[in-house]
Amino acid sequence: MDRVNKAEDLRELRNRLIAAQDTSRPVVRVCLGPGCLAQGADKVAGAFKKAIKDRGLQADVKPLIKETGCHGFCKLGPLVNLDPSGLFYAQVKPEDVEEIVEQTLVKGQVVDRLLYTENGNQYQTASEIPFYAMQQKIATRNLGLIDPILLEDAIINGAYLAAAKALSYMKPEDVVKELELSGLRGRGGAGFPTGRKWRSAVDAAKKSPGMVYIVCNGDEGDPGAFMDRAIMEGDPHGVLEGMLIEAYAVGANQGFLYVRTEYPIAVKNLKRALDQARDLGMLGQNILGTGFDFDVQINRGAGAFVCGESTALFSSIEGKAGEPRAKYIRSVERGLWGRPTVLNNVETLSNVPVIIDEGGDWYAHIGPANSPGTKAFSLVGKVKNVGLVEVPMGVPLSRIVEDIGGGVPGKDHFKAVQTGGPSGGCIPYSLKDVAVDFDSLIKIGSMMGSGGMIVMDDTDCVVDVARYFLHFLEEESCGKCLPCRLGLKGMVEFLDRFSRGEGSEEELDELVSLGEAIKDGALCALGGSAPNPVLTTIRYFRDEYLAHIVDKKCPAGVCKSLITYSIDTDKCTGCGLCVRNCPQSCITGETKTPHTINGEACVRCGMCLESCKFGAINVA
């Protein structure tokens, strides 16, 4: 592809690419997002390529296969979208491909059985489906649309136009002002205003002339969150463009992209995009003839949750163990190698090009005044429509979980929604109408975090969930400060005891007081927010804790020490499947007569529950 030497070149290149497009060519978009890929979408894409080749369709129909990023509706994966018809096929298997090619691509007919049906309505296109109709996509705008491998595809969809506008027609100061006007707040967790952060870096650089660095945080460490993975994989140029605009605004010539090592596809797609952007002339020396130089280096994370913390992440980029430091001097003033460094998260940066394009004022009017814009969430757990969603800030929680998410399968309503990852809290059903924005969530003791939204139902135990997070955090604590290193250990001990039915009500209060002390005393945000999952669950689900401690019961049937497995003799057919699978050999009974479980030997592994075809295993 041609190199662009000025803003005008980019526009002309885009016009040329658009003009060269054959709009009559059918386009088949196969979602290769995290969810679809795990359901075999790569095989579906392969089947399309093969079927088209076998039938010799390249010659006349010339279908174009695009392997796109996450389309969002992971539950229905693998997803296939067709253009120009707009048809949306769900749960497509490789063996369905032949029929799609024959019926839709060749004859132009609809394969009804692959359409999505909900409440008796059948939907032909994605935009009609309630799951999509209620969303507004900004950060995830290109996901599912473009093929992240193809630079042309990104350019046709407007990639780098905002950067060209910023570099060629705006002063760095104007870019910062536009961001301040937009009110965009960091999507990584803390919600610090992005424009103000950039302003601080500019001021810091004035005081101490020299290098300024920018870092994009793609170390999406919160378990249960995959928004950033989806964005990095599906729209890598969008992330690079955000970084370029930021670099120009704060005067940085070197950027770092810190990506989790668990995301190999993201690393691959970003690396390819980096090379493409360099060839295009959007990275490197004298970008668009403006005299501005900027390049990006990718650093892979090495599996440490604490590296989501700014100063720990910087240590890691410098090649050291990722331990945070006390932030008497903020990292924006003294970050990488002691120089001013701006750290923004992937989702934050992918909003930036749109803000420059549409204007800060436009962005500021989406959602509530204090938390403007949209937010992407990974909606997972006990919810019908699991997937990636993006909605305006400030919508009620129930809109996301019940209207978009379709509620809990087979249940009236959810029990709690966990937001904010290990730093967040559990929001009970009674607060289902809380507005989902930074400030409202903090008010009720949880937080936005990076956007994981995990739905729990009555078979999920809050004591177990709190214990899960604390075990996670204790494991991930870097060990530098005492409140976190020993305090979390202490909290885990309390929770382990409670989950065994030990402890007392006084100990519950001691646990709260220990949690408060850690919040005050820990060095960094990991420790400072670590007690949140415990404190919110005690606040909203005290009864459930008491059920464990006082009644020695786990109402949700999760905590191993407090449950027993038994066989419902009415339902058991004596098929013997559980006997064959039981690792403890503790199930006995004659063939074709109801079996029994020897409770003493049972380790509650759940194997019988999993294997029983008649629902005869009771857990209580």
Binding site: F305, K320, A321
Partner: protein, 151 residues
């Protein structure tokens, strides 16, 4: 033996000899050899100019480095929040029983390494187990057993 030596040299040549490239080098060596052997660690330290003690501190701090040889197949049970709610702990325990090793360890015959990971980012298909490069969504104890018998 000779081949191995050229390979490690080739990896070292990918990065300038500066301390900031320590982690990248450890990652590349880990990817190539499945673990970081003491002699390779020394070569890396010489290349980037950091003391061996510091490299050990880094290699033991981050989860993705192993100082012991890993198994032929990597089993990674995702223990993210969504997977936890859908029974990943039971999956991990059943694998520990079946393979006779604790998580974080490798079977004696070097066939399998068993690990739990914080999140694979495929939460929509919880519980998720990754065996080598294959994602297994909606994993069950029996399904994993069957899968392992095949490889």
């Amino acid at each position: 033996m000779k081949k191995k030596a050229t390979e490690i040299d080739a990896i070292l040549d990918r990065y300038p000899g500066e301390p900031r490239y320590l982690i990248s080098l450890l990652q590349d060596v880990q990817a190539e050899y499945n673990y970081i052997a003491p002699e390779n660690m020394t070569l890396i330290c010489d290349h980037v100019g950091v003391p061996l003690t510091q490299a050990w501190s880094v290699a033991t701090f981050y989860k993705s480095f192993s100082l012991e040889p890993r198994g032929e197949h990597e089993i990674r049970v995702c223990c993210g929040t969504a997977c936890h709610l859908k029974g990943s702990e039971r999956l991990a325990q059943s694998l520990e029983r079946d393979l006779g090793v604790e998580r974080g360890h490798t079977t004696e015959d070097l066939r399998f390494s068993l690990d739990t990971v914080n999140c694979l980012g495929a939460c929509a298909l919880a519980p998720m187990v990754m065996i080598d490069d294959d994602y297994i969504g909606g994993a069950t104890q029996r399904g994993i057993r069957k899968y392992l018998k095949k490889i």
